[in-house]
Structures are given as structure tokens and as C-alpha cells.
């Protein structure tokens, strides 16, 4: 990788920044443009930048789990988000809503979180395979 001091130093900052923005986009997707897919892409962008600056091994260490495991968690979350609807005679993936103190909470956020993690894991896994060592 190109050894740029500026990039190396700012990479962790940019990584956390992009993750913060990606979470914001994930939550914003509730009723405005955004959502799990976009958020996941942004989060993955941060990780990729980190991998370019500090190398593949550092990026894997930052993630702690192998990228594919993120897909696994995401799939589980998305799968689980569809189940509560089944309890009330409704078809699979029928989402339920609750309004504690006016805050709209639905099982959709769990689904979106799943999408976020799957996208993050997939993009990172693909890119790290392309980067080499």
C-alpha cells in the first residue's frame, strides 16, 4: 500500500466518523432516504479506507470477527425481525409497531440493522479478498 503519513494518521478518525454517519443514515432510513443498505455501504467504506491506510491485517483486527460473521449476525437479525408477525396469524415479514411515549418503534429497524450488517460484511469480505496482503 502507498505509505502516506496523512492517511495513516487520519484513518482511525475517518473510520469512526464514517461509522457514526452510517449509523445516522441507518436510523434516518426509517422515514427518509437512507436505510440499512446505504448505511452498510458507508460503514464498509470507512473500513476499506482503514484497510488501505493501515493494511489488511489491521482492518481485520479492528473488525474482531471475520467479515462473513457480520453477514451471519445480519441474516439472523433480519430473519428474526419477520417472526413476530407470524404469531398474529399474519404472513412472514409482516412488521409490528409499538409507540412507547410517541417514539415509533417497529420490527423493521431490526430488519434494517440486519441489512446493514450483511452489506457491511459482504463488501468488506469482497474488498479484503481483492486487496491481498
Amino acid at each position: 500500500m502507498n505509505d502516506s503519513l496523512i492517511l495513516r494518521t487520519s484513518a482511525p478518525l475517518l473510520l469512526w466518523l464514517s461509522i457514526a454517519v452510517s449509523v445516522f443514515v441507518l436510523l434516518r432510513g426509517h422515514n427518509a432516504p437512507g436505510g440499512g443498505f446505504l448505511g452498510g455501504l458507508m460503514g464498509a467504506g470507512g473500513v476499506l479506507l482503514y484497510a488501505i491506510a493501515r493494511g489488511r491485517v489491521a482492518a481485520i483486527r479492528f473488525l474482531r470477527l471475520p467479515p462473513v460473521a457480520y453477514c451471519g449476525i445480519g441474516l439472523l437479525a433480519a430473519l428474526a425481525s419477520g417472526l413476530p408477525g407470524l404469531l398474529g396469524e399474519a404472513p412472514y415479514l409482516t412488521h409490528l409497531w409499538a409507540f412507547p411515549a410517541g417514539l415509533p418503534l417497529g420490527t423493521t429497524i431490526l430488519f434494517d440493522l440486519g441489512v446493514y450488517l450483511v452489506v457491511l460484511g459482504t463488501i468488506t469480505a469482497m474488498f479484503l479478498a481483492l486487496v491481498g496482503d
Partner: protein, 130 residues
């Protein structure tokens, strides 16, 4: 407008077919990407001219000039899937380049008629190298 679209689609398909005919894998892959783009344009065109009713929302509420979101949703899904497939094919091509030093279809195909029972020999050397 439709004629312009049709000509654009035709041009992109021509370019992609030209790239398909190349013996280099990377060019073939680029050809596929172009082909996918042409098909996405075709979906957009097909969605506009058809006798469409706006799904779910009443036409009166939407007002005139509202676009049908269905083709766009389809194209978005197709782009995402195409992206995944292209990335995978790219990784494969890169693996071929790294391990065998070629991305030419013909040179790779020489592996087709192995002198030794390839599965055992090749797998064994690979395991030793790893």
C-alpha cells in the same frame, strides 16, 4: 425520446458484444457490465411506455407526471445483484492472474486436458504450498 433510448441501448449492447468476443477475461467482464447497463436501460424504457397503473397510491393523489417507481426498484435490485456478481467474477479473475499469471481464456483452458490426473496432483501441490 423512446427512439433515442433504443439507439442508446443498441449502441451499448454492440460495445458489450464486441468486448465479449475478446479472449481476455477482464474485457469479457467489462462487456458483461455494459450488457447489464443496457438491460437496465431497457427496463426503464419498458416501464415508462407500458399501460401502467400506479401501484398502491391513487392516481388522483399523485397528480400528473408521477413516475412509476416499480422499474426503478427493479433496476436498483438488478444493479446491486450485478455488483455482487461482478465483484465475485473479478475476484476469480484476479485469482487466476495471481496464481497462473494469465487472464487469457485460451491459456487457462490448457488446464482442461491435464497430463496427470489433475485433481489429485494439483490439489496436492496446492496443499503443500499452503
Amino acid at each position: 425520446m423512446e427512439i433515442l433510448f433504443a439507439i442508446a441501448i443498441g449502441t451499448v449492447v454492440t460495445a458489450s458484444v464486441y468486448l465479449f468476443l475478446s479472449r481476455d477475461l477482464l474485457r469479457g467482464l467489462l462487456g458483461f457490465i455494459l450488457f447489464g447497463t443496457a438491460v437496465n436501460l431497457a427496463i426503464l424504457l419498458a416501464g415508462r411506455v407500458g399501460p401502467m397503473r400506479p401501484p398502491l397510491v391513487d392516481a388522483a393523489v399523485l397528480g400528473a407526471g408521477a413516475a412509476n417507481p416499480l422499474p426503478q426498484a427493479l433496476i436498483l435490485t438488478a444493479i446491486v445483484i450485478g455488483f455482487g456478481l461482478t465483484a465475485f467474477a473479478l475476484i476469480l479473475t484476479l485469482t487466476a492472474h495471481r496464481e497462473f499469471g494469465t487472464t487469457s481464456v485460451e491459456e487457462l483452458a490448457e488446464a482442461e486436458t491435464p497430463k496427470v490426473p489433475a485433481n489429485t496432483a494439483a490439489a496436492a501441490t496446492r496443499r503443500e504450498a499452503a
